[in-house]
């Protein structure tokens, strides 16, 4: 009897924990979608000087 009750509690607890984890993951995914544009604003390009140096090095003789 006690064993069954414990098993039921354990199952319920596992389901609750799984639900919390899934909710948490969905929240993070939603949050990520929301901040993508803000993160994109930090994108930067290297200077023209850096590109020129690399291209000069890349010249084939």
């Amino acid at each position: 009897m006690t064993k069954t009750s414990t098993q039921t509690n354990f199952t319920e607890q596992t389901i609750t924990q799984s639900t919390i984890i899934v909710d948490h993951q969905m929240n993070e995914e939603h949050f990520y979608e929301n901040i993508k544009s803000r993160l994109n604003e930090l994108k930067k390009d290297p200077s023209d000087e850096s590109i020129a140096k690399i291209l000069k090095h890349a010249q084939l003789k």
């Binding site: 948490h24 949050f31 803000r38 930090l42 994108k43 390009d45 690399i54």
Partner: protein, 202 residues
């Protein structure tokens, strides 16, 4: 008769082959495609514009030298390979400097440059935007190193979790978990920042 090569439509793999076979414009196209991803990732890791420029140059010079020497392993994709080289150069730099890549203070050099630009433009909106960018950069830098790495490689370098896992020598689940923790921590920091801003405005 040779078929005309459309550089812009070629795959990275084909561009590498074109360059090895003597077409210099192929490397220019590879640079054009990947410069923002690679440079932004380096910059956000080292948080210094000039150092990022040096590491970016060194990474692509290594790429070119490897391609020329015929040591390029065609099994992997081009961008993850470049990112691995750049990542190793960043690690080497921090090892040499014997300092942690986790820097929580603002980037003095960049801020000075931003400050000058703001005054030249005299735009309040621009100042606010620059401040928001600076805040976000600081938040990313406050993340634990392994979370910051995954966030930067996923979002800025556009690598898959499989590629990130291979590059950082962890399982895919670990890489996924680190991304989730990074987002969770970022959200907490943004909430704190918004709360402090709203208190200031009261």
């Amino acid at each position: 008769m040779r078929t005309p090569i459309r550089i812009g439509e070629a795959s990275d793999h084909d561009l590498v082959t074109f360059y090895i076979n003597g077409n210099e414009s192929a490397i220019e196209e590879l640079l054009r495609r990947h410069k923002t991803k690679v440079y932004t990732s380096i910059y956000l890791l080292v948080k210094d514009q000039y150092l990022a420029e040096d590491i970016f140059q060194d990474a692509f010079i290594k790429v070119i030298n490897t391609l020329r020497s015929g040591r390029y392993n065609e099994e992997g994709k081009f961008l993850p390979w470049v990112m691995r080289i750049a990542h190793n150069l960043v690690i080497d730099y921090f090892r040499k400097e014997k300092r942690s890549p986790t820097v929580t203070s603002a980037d003095g050099t960049t801020d000075v440059l931003n400050f000058i630009q703001i005054h030249e433009e005299s735009a309040e909106e621009r100042m606010l935007r620059e401040q928001t960018h600076a805040d976000l950069r600081v938040m990313i830098h406050r993340l634990p190193d392994e979370q910051k790495e995954v966030l930067i490689m996923r979002h800025y370098a556009d690598l898959s979790f499989k590629e990130i896992a291979e590059l950082t020598d962890v399982s895919i689940n670990t890489a996924l978990g680190r991304m989730r923790y990074a987002l969770s921590n970022l959200r907490k920091m943004m909430n704190v920042k918004e709360l402090s801003n709203s208190k200031t405005n009261l």
